[in-house]
């Protein structure tokens, strides 16, 4: 009889959770992981069934680490990945030392702990073997104790560790500032082996550990062998331990994604502020505009005839022998074609300063089933036309309202100070006649002068706005950068 066949193992599909603080997408490798630090904003999140709850904001100063989250290790043929990284501080007689701990996790084997402490790498794992004493924490340093499995130990240190930093994810909920009491023993026969009793929140745990050489670590982590930089540096016990950055500076890469993202967001915010400031200045400049012209031209308006030009005496040539220029028989310039229909008139003059922005508005609110055409020249002094522009005003009852135009605005940038006036030619007709005549309704002409902001100002405003948007988008893209595990999977 054939033995029943078990079900195929369900696939391990990491879940995706969204950071409640910044919206970043995080990978949850196990549903047993209850706590995760957002890799983008550093927020500490407690993972619930439905959503992640923010426990604390992210740390601004992230210490350097030798190994990144998701870095893989193989111990005795079993693959583990770095699930979390923690920094603990211990205080002894006013001196603070530091221990870095990597939580190595396998969905089939559970957790191992890789510690960097006092210049040595240690690998530890949980056990339930207990010491043959009532209270390991009340023993004096140097005391000898046996555990119930027959091994002998010497108490090396009793103290309290404080969690100072954490990132990654954990199968339990942790908070920076959590403390754990510890009693560390060394094997009487082998100084590279140890035993530790820990207690926190009424829970007591036991673990065994052994020293790991840098070379062994490199083999386990799949890295090429490198000089034993970290382990080779002697360190005075009890003194403040340099961070791993100091030990491994220049050797190990650093993951600055979160810092980069924060920097990008800062820059985006600064650019947005700059853009808003520019817009504010522009709004202020607009509000300080001075009206220099307001005139309404009624239908059928005829300007008074211009005064006759003064008689010009014909100059006698100084030298009768000098050749006389032949008469100019070339055709007149187009501007010189006489006006047919409509009305052309000069407005009153007004003074404009250097670098002024002149805004001219034509409006004919009574326009209906008719059209009006406006040609306007900005004239400096008597006859120096600096700008020539035109506008069309139309409104028909069967038009789409969006297509009707009963007012139009023309802008001119004035570079030179002086006296200016407008020469306006108005033409119009009722119905759809293409032959222009007198304007059918009154047309109002208004002009405002406002200080012109320098061109770099506008360029800066545009540039800062674009920069704010681009930086924000880039920061979001950076927030969705693939994790090392995802990259590894893609590479495979």
């Amino acid at each position: 009889m054939n033995e029943p066949v078990g079900r195929i193992r369900p696939t391990l599909v990491p879940r995706t959770v969204r950071c409640t603080a910044c919206g970043g997408t995080l990978t949850q490798r196990s549903d047993a992981l209850r706590f995760v630090v957002c890799r983008y904003c550093g927020a500490h999140l407690e993972l619930g069934d439905v959503e992640a709850r923010v426990l604390a904001k992210g740390e601004r100063n992230r210490p350097g680490f030798a190994y990144e989250i998701d870095h893989a290790f193989v111990w005795e043929g079993v693959r583990y990945v770095v699930a979390a990284r923690m920094v603990f501080t211990q205080e002894d007689d006013g001196e603070v030392s530091e221990t870095v701990e990597y939580l190595l996790w396998s969905p089939r084997r559970g957790t191992l702990y890789l510690d960097y402490d006092d210049g040595r790498w240690l690998l530890s794992w949980m056990v339930h073997v207990m010491p043959r004493c009532d209270d390991a924490f009340s023993l004096a340093e140097g005391a000898h104790v046996n555990t119930h499995d027959g091994q002998g130990w010497t108490l090396e240190e009793v103290g309290t560790s404080r969690l100072a930093y954490i990132d990654g994810s954990l199968p339990w909920v942790a908070r920076v500032g959590d403390t754990v009491g510890y009693a560390t023993f060394r094997a009487a026969a082998d100084r590279d082996k140890g035993y530790e009793v820990e207690r926190d929140h009424g829970e007591i745990e036991f673990c065994l550990f052994r020293a790991v050489s840098r070379q062994e670590l490199d083999v386990a982590s799949g890295k090429p062998k490198e000089p034993d930089t970290a382990a080779a540096k002697p360190r005075e016990h009890g003194g403040p331990a340099p961070s791993l950055d100091e030990d491994l500076e220049g050797i190990l890469p650093r993951d600055d994604t979160a810092a980069t993202r924060r920097w990008l967001l800062w820059m985006s915010g600064a650019a947005a502020c700059f853009c808003l400031l520019n817009l504010g200045v522009a709004a202020h400049a607009s509000s300080s505009a001075v009206q220099v012209l307001d005139r309404t031209i009624p239908p059928g308006f005829k300007p008074p005839p211009p005064p006759p030009p003064p008689a010009v005496e014909k100059d006698e040539p100084d030298d009768p022998l000098e050749p006389v220029e032949p008469p100019d028989n070339s055709p007149p310039e187009p501007e010189e074609v006489p006006v047919v229909g409509g009305v052309e008139l000069p407005t009153g003059s007004f003074r404009l300063e250097k670098d002024t922005f002149l805004r001219i508005e034509f409006s004919a609110p009574a326009l209906m089933n008719s059209w009006a055409s406006v040609d306007v020249a900005v004239v400096q002094g008597d006859d120096d036309a600096t700008h020539i522009m035109d506008a069309e005003l139309t409104r028909y009852s069967d038009d789409d309202p969006d297509e009707s135009t009963v007012s139009d605005t023309l802008d001119a940038w004035i570079d030179d100070p002086g006296s200016y006036h407008l020469v306006v030619r108005l033409l119009g007709a009722r119905g759809t006649s293409e032959t222009g005549g007198d304007i059918p309704v009154p047309v109002r002409i208004q002009a405002w002068a406002m200080p012109r902001l320098p061109l770099p100002f506008y360029l800066m405003a545009i540039a800062s706005g674009v920069m704010a948007v681009v930086l924000f988008v880039v920061s979001r893209v950076t927030g969705r950068r693939r994790t090392p595990a995802e990259k590894e999977e893609d590479d495979e």
């Binding site: 193992r9 969905p107 949980m126 207990m130 119930h148 009424g202 745990e205 999977e489 495979e492």
Partner: protein, 206 residues
């Protein structure tokens, strides 16, 4: 082997029950927890499906426990506030059943003993059946999900206090549950990894 076939009252999916001790199952299709009384099959109503793939054991897996062949019938998950643990219900090929606790991938084979726990007055050590145990943890747990077949009807959301401990030699485990009644005592053995093997260990996870 006697087989019963019942239909899920939620979605109608059939399920064949081989274990006569099974009192409840969670429908593999719709996640409805289903139990039966003398008259009919009933649904508890609350969805209780658990995600799979993250544990060493899994429903309907086959393997060997201390040389004895078994299959996993079901699982109950408990939340103790700062994390979870799973309790797996196994049926061995010799017809016996067993419970395996998987807590952070540590495995413990447990069985209930016919003794009542002492009142929880904060004791640090306690003796059962001549074996001394040291208390390692106290807390409050809540059943938050289940899957597969189980020999009792799970009360989702029900809370109870618990005490966990081990014998000083680290070989045996103790579990005490304080519920509405006088409480229950479970003794067990911590298992080394090699004491349990699965036909599909899934060590090639990525």
């Amino acid at each position: 082997m006697t087989l019963r076939e019942v239909s899920c009252p939620g979605c109608g999916a059939p399920r064949r029950i081989a274990n006569p001790a099974t009192m409840m199952f969670v429908c593999a299709y719709c996640g409805s927890p289903v139990y039966w009384d003398a008259e009919q099959v009933r649904s508890i109503g609350t969805k209780a499906a658990l995600t799979e793939g993250f544990t060493r054991l899994y429903r309907d897996a086959r393997g060997s426990l201390r040389g004895k062949r078994f299959e996993t019938l079901g699982r109950v998950r408990y939340d103790f506030g700062r994390g979870f643990w799973d309790e797996w219900y196994l049926r061995c090929d010799d017809g016996t059943t067993a419970w395996l606790t998987e807590d952070n991938h540590e495995l413990c084979l447990e069985w209930r003993v016919n003794e009542f726990p002492p009142p929880d007055n904060g004791f640090a050590r306690v003796t059962f059946r001549g074996l001394e145990f040291v208390v390692e943890e106290r807390g409050e747990a809540q059943c938050i999900g289940a899957e597969g077949e189980l020999p009792f009807v799970v009360s989702f959301g029900e809370r109870y206090r618990y005490i966990d401990g081990s014998s000083p030699d680290g070989k045996h485990s103790l579990g005490i549950e304080y519920d509405a009644g006088p409480g229950a005592v479970f003794l067990g053995d911590w298992l080394a990894h090699g004491e349990l093997t699965l036909d599909d260990e899934g060590e090639d996870w990525t």
